[in-house]
Amino acid sequence: MVVVLLPGLLATEAGGQKRFELDAATLNEALRALPVADLVLDERGEVRPLVHVYVDGDRAHDLAAPLSPAARVRIVAAIAGGQTA
């Protein structure tokens, strides 16, 4: 099973669940299966710019790339903040 780990706010939005075990052949499948898919992906299905996704410790950019059955996916909120205007 693919394991997906969520950061704090996404876990809150997922009903308090931080860890998901999913059947997913690709990273795209794994992200779309989450109850917070709309917060990770925008309306085009693209990963939001400040959401960073790591697969087995490496930053992943290709949503179509196949996942190993035991892949560990970690979603990270990029360091961001302050006020720009």
């Binding site: 704090g8 706010l9 996404l10 939005e13 709309d38 925008d42 309306e43 400040l50 959401v51 909120a77």
Partner: protein, 352 residues
């Protein structure tokens, strides 16, 4: 009857319960931690709470609560069609629909978009007439972005409403949103070097239709305070009648008196602080012929933003960027909260 204030801040949502006399207040929250609340409102038809929730990382969405904030549901599938070439950047204002249309909601956001829901926010449909408006190419973003921030309904006719977009101006529909007509005649675009009274391009900061007099609108603009008595066909400028500045954001009305309005002017577009170092709430009771100052607090420079003032039958409420909330009733000002995070919105609802 007491009041429940919904206070949207940069760091979550707070509620404030006020007593019948508006003298005693109790703060609760924060709710929706981690979200910036551009606006929150209680639906007067059923008491459901809605919040325009935004986050640096996760974008803009809407949350609803039917148990007074204990639990929240998020609107999923909120976005713009691919053929528009646009993506939803943020959500700014949610307006419960007409009393004859239960479950209907209107939602304004960036970039200058309007949505309608007919199922209490479970799903949303973008308003294509706004998205593809023939004047859209002439719209320019204000400091807060290209945002649909004001949505105000005609009390009688569910097909008639107005929206305010910065900086595009006021638009009116009389067919439920199928078509939108610019409603900016007489309002100035003082930042343009030429043609300061264009069809569109005005920087409206807040527009409200009076709930008791058909066709009467009030507007706080980047370039003045205005009133319309013909549904926005034309506007009369009012800030030159005794206000220290025409610039400001906050606007409130008196439901029982269409000639009464409240504003909190700011020094200027270049220096966005309260005038004269005080949070000065100015009131007119003669439709803008004259204005009278009611000091809420001094010294104070933290201004009140476009959604930061609200009203009910009893009082006017204002929340500042310094996190203070004031209630103004019968000319007396009472502090309702202090040291909240910077306040983005205040809405008043009857305490259930």
């Amino acid at each position: 009857m007491g009041v429940q204030l919904l206070v949207g801040t940069r760091k979550g949502l707070f509620t404030i319960r006020g007593d019948d006399e508006r003298r005693s207040f109790e703060v609760q929250g924060p709710y929706l931690k981690g979200w910036t609340i551009n606006h929150a409102v209680s639906d007067p038809r059923d008491g459901v709470l809605y919040a325009c929730t935004n986050n640096w990382v996760y974008g803009g969405t809407v949350h609803r609560s039917d148990d007074d904030g204990a639990t929240w549901e998020r609107s999923e599938n909120l976005g713009l069609p691919e053929e528009s070439g646009l993506k939803l950047a943020s959500t700014w204002h949610l307006e419960p629909g007409h009393t004859t249309e239960p479950g209907t909601l209107w939602l304004g956001g960036e970039p200058a978009v309007l949505f309608r829901s007919e199922d209490s926010g479970a799903s949303w449909e973008v308003n294509e007439a706004v998205l593809e408006h023939e004047t859209r190419a002439r719209w320019e973003p204000g400091a807060g972005g290209l945002i649909t921030h004001s949505i105000t309904l005609d009390r009688e006719d569910p097909k008639k409403l107005w929206i305010g977009i910065s900086a595009a101006g006021v638009f009116r529909t009389e067919d439920g949103g199928a078509t939108w007509k610019p409603a900016n005649q007489g309002t100035e675009a003082c930042f343009f070097p030429e043609n300061r009274f264009p069809e569109v391009g005005q920087c409206v900061h807040k527009v409200l239709a009076h709930p008791g007099r058909a066709g009467r609108l009030w507007q706080q603009n980047h370039c003045g305070v205005y009133r319309s008595d013909d549904s926005g066909e034309s506007w009369e400028r009012l800030d030159l009648n005794g206000l220290p500045s025409g610039f400001g954001f906050a606007l409130a009305l008196d439901p029982s008196d269409p000639d009464t309005a409240f504003v909190i002017p700011e020094e200027s577009a270049e220096n966005r602080v309260t005038c004269d170092g005080r949070i000065g709430i100015y009131r007119t009771t003669d439709a803008g012929v004259s204005w009278r100052l009611i000091v809420a607090e001094e010294p104070a420079w933290a201004a009140v933003l476009r959604e930061g003032m609200s009203f009910d039958d009893e009082a006017v409420y204002a929340g500042t960027q310094s996190g203070h909330v004031y209630a103004l009733r019968d000319g007396e000002v009472v502090e309702a909260a202090r040291h909240l995070p910077p306040i983005l919105s205040v809405e008043a609802a009857p305490l259930q």
